[in-house]
Amino acid sequence: MRSSAIAVSGLRKAYGDKVVLDGIDFDVAAGSVFSLLGPNGAGKTTTVNVLTTLMKADAGTVRVAGYDVAAETRQVRGAIGVTGQFAAVDELLTGRENLQLMADLKRVRDGGRLVTGLLERFDLAGSADKQASTYSGGMRRKLDLAMTLVGSPQVIFLDEPTTGLDPRSRRTMWGIVRELVAEGATIFLTTQYLEEADQLADRIAVLNQGRLVAQGTPEELKGQIPGTHVRFRFADLAGLDAAARVLLEATRDDEELTLSVPGDGGTRSVRALLDRLDAHGLDAEEFSVQRPDLDDVFLALTDQPAGVQNTSKEAIAQ
């Protein structure tokens, strides 16, 4: 077994009488990407704040890079890099000066060369001597991440690093995260984009109302909910009724006018379904093959009223 870069047990945090984290436990292996998922207000940022020494836990132990965050705070700070939700760059300084400031504070020898290297790596060399206030959102995020990397932290925390980025910048960011892992860093990532967790994470934990409701690899989590199904949408209720009498194994959704039939989504089984509808002269407006993705897992796990998950889930997935 590899050593843990982050070990959390029994972590609790409350603001007044509002419990934000209600005893959470997890372990992150060194050199892996761990993603914490959860709806807004689930306690993701509070978790990051405790792990990065910004906040004190009410109970539980947290070790980061082998140090206890409460007792060995300075050592933890020396070992981590944090990119928060809001770009933490100094807008009045240039990109180069921002990086140099980090190099100075971390007492990096030969900071100038490191700074130039980071500017090139993050494709910021062209704007290196412009003030950060003139940067676009994507450039700021890149500078922010570059600042986090100064001093080669062992454990890197990324709190929603791609929120508000366009798809291209997001992909660039993903590439950088993969490079960091290849270099041996451990990444703790929170995100609202399930695709992001799916793409990057070795392990995922789902946080809901202060508790971890699921943990595992992306594949394990996807395995927790019903599998592939074929979905038909009908023009009206009459069409839906008629089709429901034919496809008895389907689950119907009156609001969406859809029928979902479990199946593998292969051409043979789809053709068989279409033939059955055809035989009764029934016509669906559209059909699609739905594979469970992390969206489904997320919504299934974080939905409070368990009974309605199908309707609300797919409505949101639109």
């Binding site: 020494t53 700070r77 933490a88 504070l105 971390k106 007492r107 922010d144």
Partner: protein, 253 residues
């Protein structure tokens, strides 16, 4: 980590950052220098002739204008500190092994430097308007000392105010009382000429002994009593500001 960080080295790095901010934002310095000079031109050139203070009005008003210049310059510090707190950069510093005090010391030092520049400008304009001090070189050194001490004390108090304010706007507003205080002191007219209530306030508020100390030094006959009160006020305010600032800083995650 190559070496252990020290508060002093961290402060120097933070000061360099604050210096760059000041240079990038010359309007702040310009404003801090220009506004006190305009007030000076108004009081000395316009109202001064009507005030009877027993000496040339420019000689009477310059010490008060120095204090005015300091208190006016504080608004920029409060907004800068608050701005720092509302941006993500402060959390970055907090998660790094950086001395907590260093993040605030930089602001206090830059405030002091800016106040010194504004005071130098006031003295320059005063000389142009016929200012004729009787101060010796040692007295002048005392004047610089009082200016630095007051800027430092007021700087810590302002950093605390800036940290405590919820928004940048309220941080700026919070320093308005400091700008008003010199008007309710012996800065522009002697206390004897004021109504009873205001006179008592003027006599006992901190700026009066500080202004009287500066006035004594510039006239070449410093008063020990005023100087003691001035230093006591400054040390007290600096301590209060420091404790308030550090505790507020720790509370604001």
């Amino acid at each position: 980590m190559s070496t252990v960080s020290t508060p002093l080295a961290d402060s120097a790095i933070m000061l360099r950052r604050n210096l760059k901010h000041t240079v990038r934002n010359p309007v702040t310095v310009f404003n801090a220098v220009l506004f006190p000079i305009i007030i000076m031109l108004m009081f000395v050139g316009v109202f001064g002739g009507a005030f009877s203070v027993g000496e040339d009005y420019v000689d009477y008003a310059t010490p008060g204008l120095l204090v005015m210049a300091i208190s006016y310059g504080l608004g920029a510090t409060a907004t800068a500190v608050n701005d720092d707190m509302t941006k993500g950069i402060i959390n970055r510093f907090k998660t790094m092994d950086v001395s907590r005090g260093a993040m605030l010391t930089g602001h206090v030092v830059i405030t002091t430097v800016r106040c010194l520049v504004a005071c130098a400008a006031i003295v320059g304009v005063a000389f142009a308007m016929g200012f004729d001090p009787a101060a010796s070189a040692l007295d002048w050194l005392g004047v610089v000392g009082v200016v630095v001490l007051l800027s430092f004390a007021a700087g810590w108090l302002t950093v605390a105010t800036g940290l405590a304010a919820k928004t940048v706007e309220s941080a700026g507003l919070a320093t308005v009382p400091l700008i008003m205080l010199p008007f309710l002191s012996t800065a522009f007219v002697p206390a004897e000429t004021m109504g009873t209530g205001i006179r008592q306030f003027a006599e006992y508020q901190p700026f009066t002994p500080i202004i009287e100390t500066l006035r004594g030094l510039l006239n070449g006959n410093p008063s020990g009593g005023d100087a003691l009160a001035a230093v006591a006020w400054c040390v007290g305010l600096a301590l209060l500001g420091y404790v308030w600032a550090v505790s507020t800083f720790k509370k604001r995650a």
